[in-house]
């Protein structure tokens, strides 16, 4: 029945199956993106919704489009935005590096562990997802605050007499981001390292490579796709992160996610907020696209085996 209907529409089953995810992406990614893009080119005004339409009729027969580039110009003129962008990229970059330094050995250890314990270890990595992300960040407040777990323990042990200010510092933000995004680093790395052919390491040893050098010459370069996937999965959401700096960080800390929130909810300046979002997207997407192109070029002729 369904097949016949599809056929009448000029679709075969294969096209229909592929069409579903494309429709989904169109509806929930492309359309909202276009809306945001549209808003970023409009003028703010006090109304519902709080911006002027792009298109309006000047007479019966003329439709006028009015693009306002002022929002983007504003982003460049006001160095608040620049600073926020740079700070966000810095924080995300440092967090990604920390995630890599912590996650790589963990993924490596899991991939090399016995298959019986491997599943348990993987489960432990995924386990935090059972609890809401927000709750877990709140839990860190309890751990880091002045009369929180760490400070109380250290004071009870007599290591310190004054609580160490940890909450509302950059340190807390890094702790929160690294903690929250670590699984996204471990899982792709594990998937990659687990596939590594161990006879390659034997071959390296056979050819005179000490274990540490075998790691640098064989394991590390072969795990590069896993490293890149993990880093992107951590870096991209970390750049736009809002919740963690808002809850754990210094209120004065400039992060682009927070700037966006302020523009949108406090200033009710949707056009500028949209321009911030679009600029952020370009900041992230363009380097990634270049990177992908470079990778495809290097694979040269496809990596079919």
């Amino acid at each position: 029945m369904i097949a016949r209907v599809l056929h009448r529409l000029g679709l075969d089953g294969r096209t229909a199956v592929i069409a579903v995810p494309y429709l989904w992406l169109l509806m929930f990614f492309l359309v909202p993106f276009v809306i945001v893009l549209k808003i970023s080119f409009s003028d703010a005004q006090i109304s519902m919704p709080p911006y002027q339409p792009l298109l309006h009729w000047v007479s019966e027969k003329a439709l006028q489009i009015q693009l306002n580039f002022g929002n983007f110009a504003f982003l460049v003129e006001d160095n608040l935005y620049w600073k926020a962008y740079l700070n966000s990229i810095w924080v995300a970059g440092v967090s990604t590096l920390l995630c890599l330094l912590i996650g790589y050995p963990m993924a490596y250890a899991i991939a090399r562990s016995q298959s019986s314990t491997r599943n348990v270890l993987l489960l432990l990595v995924i386990l935090p997802f059972w609890t809401s992300f927000l709750l877990r960040v709140y839990a860190w407040i309890g751990i880091l605050k002045n009369n929180g777990l760490i400070n109380n323990t250290l004071m009870a042990l007599g290591v310190i007499d004054q609580p160490i200010q940890m909450l509302q510092t950059d340190f807390a933000v890094y702790v929160g981001i690294v903690y929250s995004y670590l699984p996204f680093m471990i899982l792709p790395l594990y998937a990659n390292l687990e596939k590594l052919d161990l006879t390659l390491l034997e071959a390296a040893a056979d050819l005179g490579c000490r274990p540490w050098k075998s790691f640098l010459k064989v394991t590390l370069p072969l795990s590069l796709p896993g490293i890149i996937a993990g880093c992107l999965l951590v870096f991209i959401p970390a750049v736009g992160e809002f919740v963690i700096p808002a809850l754990l960080g210094d209120p004065g800390m400039l992060m682009i996610g927070k700037v966006l929130w302020t523009e949108f909810f406090n200033n009710r300046d949707w056009p500028v907020a949209s321009a911030v979002a679009i600029a952020l997207l370009l900041f992230l997407v363009i380097p990634i696209m270049f990177f992908q192109r470079a990778q495809d070029a290097e694979a040269g002729g496809g990596s079919h085996r």
Partner: protein
């Protein structure tokens, strides 16, 4: 080329020279994995420039023995010496030994050239020297034009040659080859066998080859060590292993064989007679056997050494009537399956010397099977 093991004029048989020292000495090596004994008290001496084949079914311990020579496994007991140096506790990266892996284990992220140069770079050789040796080696395996390719852009045979080049370029004292030809198709395998022998003769490196393929072992090796359940059951040249097997296992593992169980009824230093329930007449063997009279022995006769005739053979021994049950025509030869009066089926091969089939023995024919007194091999286990 002077000491070529293939050259019948200049015999290469260091194992027959009592003064020759083995180049590789495996001294009472045992390897256990938990309760499982993979290699059981093996002692072997392998001489310089040999191609020594470790032959056996899968799980017989041949690969474990090879991995101990490479240094990937440590023996539970026993020592391994290469060129007089105790290697038992030396890690793989410090051994003057290279291995060609069954899967080839080429580094997928490196070009052919980089793969071959890898070992030399570890030795911190000068760049020019590395480049020179890599080029030479790639020429030797005829891969010069593929130097810039990645392994996934090569065919199976080409990858095999890269693996060989990578293992040989360091001029190891000993090259270990784990099923070197297993991944190649039949035609390529035969061709590569001879190429491998040529390369070995050119470079004069000692080869130890692990294989489960008896044909490969026969064509490649100077000597074969046949393994079963972690033990070496016989060591010898291909001819010795084929013509003088020391047990039923060896005779049956290499080639096909007809085995007759029987008792010694005459036991003289220069000849024996064996009576078998499968045969009407005794088997007469023209050499002595070290076994007690009346003991159970087995006479093994190769299919190509059994002859068929329509006339009754002269003499009282070494023949039996039989009926042709089946014939398999293989082109160069035909395999006959004949049934004896006892019901035992015997395998006979006959070369097809003539093209016309008129005179050939055919299905259901009654024939006489006979053999030369020198043909049976008498084994006592």
């Amino acid at each position: 080329m002077a000491t070529s093991p293939r050259d019948p004029q200049l015999k290469f048989e260091p194992w027959t020279d009592p003064d020759a020292q083995p180049y590789v000495r495996i001294d009472r090596v045992t390897k256990k994995f938990g309760d499982f004994i993979a290699v059981d008290d093996v002692s072997l001496g392998i001489y310089k420039k040999e191609i020594f084949c470790l032959l056996g079914a899968s799980g017989c311990g041949k690969t474990t023995l090879l991995r101990m020579l490479a240094g990937f496994e440590r023996p539970t007991a026993g020592r391994i010496y290469i060129d007089g140096v105790d290697m038992t506790d030396i890690p793989p990266y410090e051994r003057p030994v290279n291995m060609m892996f069954q899967s080839y284990a080429l580094f997928p992220h490196m070009t052919v050239e980089q793969n071959v140069a890898f070992g030399l770079k570890q030795d911190k050789l000068a760049k020019a020297e590395i480049a020179k040796r890599v080029t030479e080696m790639l020429e030797l395996v005829k891969l010069g034009q593929f130097a810039k390719r990645k392994p996934h852009q090569l065919s199976g045979g080409q990858r095999q040659r890269v693996a060989l080049a990578r293992a040989l370029v360091k001029k190891p004292k000993l090259l270990l080859l784990d099923e070197p030809l297993a991944a190649l198709d039949k035609k390529l395998r035969e061709h590569t066998q001879f190429e491998l022998i040529n390369i070995q003769e050119t470079l004069g490196v000692t080869f130890i080859v692990v294989t489960h393929d008896q044909e490969e072992a026969m064509t490649l090796s100077s000597r074969i060590g046949l393994m079963n359940h972690g033990e070496i059951v016989q060591v010898g040249t291909p001819t010795e292993i084929y013509e003088y097997p020391n047990s039923r296992f060896v005779s049956e593992f290499i080639g096909s064989v007809n085995i007759f169980e029987g008792r010694l009824i005459e036991d003289e230093p220069s000849y024996v007679r064996i009576e078998s329930d499968d045969l009407d007449r005794p088997i007469f063997v023209d050499h002595g056997v070290s076994s007690a009279p009346g003991a159970t022995v087995w006479a093994a006769i190769r299919p190509e050494k059994m002859l068929m005739s329509r006339e009754k053979p002269a003499g009282d021994d070494n023949w039996t009537p039989a009926t042709v049950r089946d014939i398999a025509y293989m082109g160069d030869l035909s395999i006959y399956l004949l049934r004896l009066a006892s019901g035992k089926v015997v395998r006979v091969t006959q070369p097809n010397v003539y093209r016309h089939a008129d005179e050939r023995i055919t299905w259901d024919e009654q024939v006489y099977l006979h053999w030369d007194p020198s043909s049976p091999v008498v084994v006592t286990k």
